[in-house]
Symmetry: C2
Subunit: 497 residues, 2 copies
């Protein structure tokens, strides 16, 4: 042991009192993977850890200035009281326990959907491994969904990979792209503010993060000139190879215009960048005049000069939209124009993990193939979906309205997704050594029980401060929460001015 510690350049272990040399740990903070140390993920960072502690303290009867902790830090719809879609859960129950196929209380369309899923499973059981790329019939349903969504642009099921949530697909694609050292090391362009999965994945992979800033003054829009600036600067120190876009935006809630998407595709083509389109909020569009345009559709409508050449991966998930089924970890990615040899490598790589969770695959199948007009579950499905989406639209507006009444808070319209990302003015006296927005959010948590994520966890322009807040709590609760934020902000500003 002494020998091996010396080999690694560690200090010699000391004798303990009884003369026994205590063994040094094999794995310490100094000898662990350095890229893992660089990973940060604010959505579940120190604020959330403290929120969990506070919940425990409350449950143990400790007195606090609030009765409950409200976690508005993460897009976790069911945890905020959103109800699952009945049809989806009926089919999942049928697939889990096929005896229920004999139960007359289940609707026929749920049963036929369950039978079809089970027939695609080895031994008719969700307990079997699926193909690593995902169940064939599910990938076919995904392809047909994409064709419908994109007005008939063709989609090949062979281009679909089912994933363990969207995060898994994004991580896998980034993994393929990373190579080189020093100035040839792969660089990946991500928006600032960004969803911190991207920065975390790049840190873990040791890739170079290239920041392009969204324009807060223009409702968090994406300017091509800013892409160009970021790219040109990055070319001096790394090899930029990919451009990541989140649309609708997380944490910023903007919905990209068709023109903007065209410009981005032209830019990627001109500069030789692999496009990654994170489109998990594709059903979450609320603002008048806004519409979701998939990168795939726009790409194909730009003609073969682009549609035959630009490499694109687009990601979707069961976790967001109107279903909010985060716990099932369902998702897919569509891969366009990928080199055949690389695609074979991708298939090999995902095979090591065997397969994505089959219940998540089943759920993804239901999302892309929901009840159709004339089927017994159709009306109720539409009713439930509409109720959830209209409630979200209403809460998006409410959030913007109330936050903008507060002096020192300014909030862009929440056009889509599930978050507001308002700018907050923090008095200079509140600059206490730690990040001022972290200090602000921690104070808010301790005083009000509201758990938000500081803007620094997503990235923001130097000298500006923000927080991310989900719009998911039920309307009444959200209103109370927003008023508490208002009150807290006023008190905080007064105290530190």
């Amino acid at each position: 042991v002494v020998l091996s510690a010396t080999r690694r350049g560690l200090p010699k272990p000391k004798m303990s009192e009884n003369g026994v040399v205590p063994r040094a740990k094999v794995l310490t903070i100094d000898t662990m993977n350095p890229t893992v140390k660089n990973v940060e993920y604010a959505v579940r960072g120190p604020i959330v850890a403290r929120a969990v502690e506070l919940e425990k303290e409350l449950s143990e009867g400790m007195k606090k200035p609030f009765a409950e902790v409200i976690k508005a830090n993460i897009g976790d719809a069911h945890a905020m009281g959103q109800q699952p879609i009945t049809f989806f859960r009926q089919v999942l129950a049928l697939c889990s326990y096929p005896e229920l196929l004999n139960d007359s209380t289940f609707p026929e369309d749920a049963k036929s959907r369950a039978r079809r899923i089970l027939q695609s499973c080895g031994g008719n059981s969700m307990g079997s491994y699926s193909a690593s790329q995902g169940i064939d019939s599910v990938r076919q349903d995904v392809a047909r969904y994409i064709e419908r969504r994109d007005g008939g642009v063709p989609c090949d099921p062979d281009d679909i990979y089912l994933t363990t949530g969207a995060s898994d697909g994004i991580m896998t694609m980034l993994k393929l792209l990373v190579c080189g050292e020093g100035v040839t090391r792969t660089g990946v362009m991500i928006s600032i503010p960004q969803y911190p999965l991207y920065s975390a994945a790049l840190a873990e992979l040791g890739a170079v993060q290239i920041n392009y800033y969204l324009n807060e003054e223009k409702c968090w829009s994406l300017d091509i000139s800013e892409l160009q600036r970021a790219l040109d600067e990055a070319r001096h120190h790394c090899n930029p190879r990919a451009l990541c876009i989140i649309n609708p935006g997380n944490p910023t809630g903007q919905v990209q215009s068709r023109e903007c998407i065209e410009d981005v595709i032209r830019f990627a083509a001109k500069e030789g960048l692999f496009l990654m389109a994170d489109e998990v909020y594709q059903d979450n569009v609320y603002a008048d005049g806004c519409q979701f345009h998939s990168f795939k559709k726009v790409l194909f409508e730009m003609g073969p000069e682009y549609s035959d050449t630009v490499e694109l991966a687009s990601f979707h998930s069961t976790s967001k939209c109107y279903m909010g089924e985060c716990g099932f970890r369902g998702g897919y990615m569509e891969i366009i124009n990928m080199d055949d040899e690389v695609k074979a490598q991708l298939t090999k790589l995902v095979s090591v993990r065997l397969c994505p969770p089959v219940p998540g695959q089943a759920l993804m199948d239901l999302v892309v193939n929901p009840p159709q007009p004339g089927e017994p579950s159709y009306d109720n499905f539409i009713k439930e979906r509409t109720a959830t989406l209209s409630a979200l639209a209403e809460k998006a507006k409410l959030t913007e309205q109330i936050l903008n009444t507060v002096h020192g808070i300014s909030c862009n319209p929440v056009q889509g997704a599930m978050y507001s990302f308002p700018r907050i003015i923090i008095p200079e006296k509140a600059d206490k050594g730690q990040q001022p927005d972290m200090f602000y959010c921690m104070k808010m948590l301790e005083e009000t029980g509201i758990c938000l994520v500081p803007g620094s966890g997503f990235g923001q322009k130097d000298g500006t401060y923000h927080f991310r807040m989900t719009i998911l709590p039920p309307r009444d609760k959200l209103q109370i929460l927003l008023n508490k934020v208002k009150e807290f902000h006023q008190k905080f500003t007064k105290h530190y001015s």
Copy 2:
């Protein structure tokens, strides 16, 4: 584009006939992540790809010398006709569609289990994210299970991390361990033969694989002198930091003796190695006189000199044993003596992926907390579990017996796990440029429809050949399959002699 291609040292793209410069792909086999290219995973390699093709050809009516493809390549119990445990699936159905809690046909113990799981989920829904380390109550149940299994050795729920199958946990632990460059690069000791997740993970992480050979002559036992040899040689070119053990063995089916485990622990302590114990087959022990001993239990019974210092991660899964629920991707790892700062880093790292699939967590909970005596589902649970495990024990014996009747095949007893890994003699004339055992298995697939994995996918001593075959097909089918293997081997040997 020309510029960026040149920057990467690629050949200049050519003009096409219409004068347009076709865009080069951003991502090619030459410009992708080189570590991914080094990954190999035989369990789902070219043989399996061909098996899937053959199934398709059969279904399209093409004539073959066999009526069906039998996939004995992967431990996929339900796909081979094993039935799920009724109680588990009832609880999963109840958790998926809680309306069923009002259904009087479900037993009360299934309902109370479902209620307990749902109460631990945000918003009482499996659709919520769980804590990244896993649901608290499930981790508590896992800890109590480990304590019962290990005769009262204490287990702290804080040391339990729920995972997406065991593969996910193993990959995560290896990721923490990798650092250094050149002769200081992390080396990890794995058995040969091994389960190829290990070699694939090490290739992807760019760690050094250190092979130690199991002793086929002594029923695939592990000799400490061989560990020492492998370690001493490896120290010249890398920094060995971890030792992986699979017990019961995959693909080799041996069950380690208590003495052997003690020796391994002493060796790891002496040499400063982090122990990783893959114990996913802990209920799959068939041979008389064999018994499963967990590394955790043995470690703690060796006294504080070891139990206070040796770092150990042990892995379990819902995919094997008597339940065989692979598709749900459930699993856990227990971490012993890990440095606190490293543990905090581990928790941060897993938080980036948000959480393991919640249905898999629920299933893991049922595995560690099955029906108890006196509960309504107890008798049926025991009946189902016993039936599966005794059938496996019988098939383990049958496999060994029939294979050993074949001249040129010798098979160690299948003491545990789900595979036989017989040695096969391949005539020199069958050495056709590709790996002889790959050639043998591909021939067998084309002629008999039986899908096995060549020994080269797991590693074997130079000049020896093997295949891995699961013992999972139903008894009748297994007997037919074994007789076909026998017939094929005789024909093949005759043909190439």
